[in-house]
Symmetry: C2
Amino acid sequence: MAMTPAPKSLSEVHDLIAKFPGLDADAAMAAEMREPSLTKPPGSLGRLEEVAHWLASWQGRHPAKVEAPQVIVFAANHGVSAQGVSAYPPEVTAQMVSNFEHGGAAINQISHAADATMKVVDVGVTEGTQDFSTGPAMTEESFCNAFGQGMAAVNVSTDLLAVGEMGIGNTTTAAALSHALHGGTAETWTGAGTGVEGAALANKVRVVGESVALHKAETNDPLDLFRRLGGLELVAIAGAITRARLERIPVLLDGYVCTAAAAPLAAAAANALDHCLAGHVSAEPGHTHLLEKLGKVPLLDLNMRLGEASGAAVAIALVKMATAYHSGMATFDEAGVTDKNESP
Amino acid sequence: MAMTPAPKSLSEVHDLIAKFPGLDADAAMAAEMREPSLTKPPGSLGRLEEVAHWLASWQGRHPAKVEAPQVIVFAANHGVSAQGVSAYPPEVTAQMVSNFEHGGAAINQISHAADATMKVVDVGVTEGTQDFSTGPAMTEESFCNAFGQGMAAVNVSTDLLAVGEMGIGNTTTAAALSHALHGGTAETWTGAGTGVEGAALANKVRVVGESVALHKAETNDPLDLFRRLGGLELVAIAGAITRARLERIPVLLDGYVCTAAAAPLAAAAANALDHCLAGHVSAEPGHTHLLEKLGKVPLLDLNMRLGEASGAAVAIALVKMATAYHSGMATFDEAGVTDKNESP
């Protein structure tokens, strides 16, 4: 398939999302048909069964395989950091990008343990976004540029994509975007992030609430809200999720920031995230609310809140196990095991 | 270390449990000391941090490693099956043992995906136990024999053990044992197992309640209740857990039946399961109650209810990721990343 060109306007992004392909009905049916023949009580592998079927449906092949998983961490800085919303200074973003490049971060080790390739893509560590508490975070041009970088980062020969982010200040961005898209109060969506509390947390809540009020007065379009209240690494994640859909690559979402990056796609078209599973639920309370709004039940709940695609990458192991059992198990006939569901 | 001889009486099992070694304080301290130096916000890997520390503490070395995990499935039949408590006939146990031996079961595929060795040990498929609804399930001699087989099955060079079971009728055994040890009502502890419902489930509840009443009238000793209401594969699991403790091998528990097999050890000595983590929580409701009684929080909640060590074996992947990040990550100093916790 020729690569879909990167969109040049928010309107072109809308057009792309509206034309997202659906699941592969033949592969989905083949997975459904095989399941009850396997030597186990029906349904006894629980969510692993759902994962096996999801993988086949969105890879568009049965048996599905996970042989070349890819982890991508998008990194950028946030103008809103100037409002004192993070426990760490913005220079940590660049330091952590270097740490990713040298293999020293958690995601390097977790990706290795998952036999996944991992890369970090700098989509705006130096330039960052504008401070959205005073104006739009980015122009339409910079939005489309980051979206295109996200699309281009996906290796088309991968069979499972885990996406994540690094960006000091970006739980503030996630909170603002979630609040803008899904209503409620700023408090509901705003948490400790890397570790703000007390007066600093109250300030973060205030910044989120006032910023959302500022931009919601201008638009209700989910992609324009994304441009106004998003971050470059979040937009790149949305681009990667979009490219994965077009290339039949199932996606594992990471934590709050990653899910907030996916949320505008779902707001633009209800089925836009059907090829995505929530790898885990973060300890950041806003993530629980956002997953509920998106109708996603996370695979893992390990009280993690690091980001960096770490929760999504841990979940790669579960997807591998799902495809392993579904493809490799013997059927009742093959094993000579009595099936209670068969007539004698 | 010379192998501890298998106990020859319930009293010798009590003595063995009473002398269980504790965790390795040096390894535990080394893990605690390294954690805050790693390039991430404190606590941000959630339960993976707890798992990394647990592994070091019970392997007795830092850094801990998971290079040779072992999965053992113990199989046996249950006299109580004659009471019509299972949706499958007892011959399925032998058929599934053959399926394990030929690589066709879910646990074969999941173990392979976890890079673990896997073996099935027949501890009483042909002979089974006596029907505990009318008398004790086994003699003290057969109890000790199964316990010794469990001890002997553990490969002493393994560094992480996942245990599980196969035995038609054994959720009835798990329910009876849990009810005997932890009180409550028979309904609380009795679930669908491989798929009984309606009148068959009501019959299963009745059998559990009446059997527990019968044997509780004779003893309150947890090991004697285990002999009376247990199964040979459950006793073998308890033997394997015991051997693992003595050999400094951390253990992942599987579902309801496996946890019920571990419960008498905890009833005999409160700290007896400190080297064990709950790999997952089963869809069988009694498992949730039993984990609460034992103070264990499961790593995974995937609605699985297969047994066969499947949930424990899936959790091996999480333990690997925990040890990978803890051992492999760079420190703030090594990576040149600003640590908010350090004074400037």
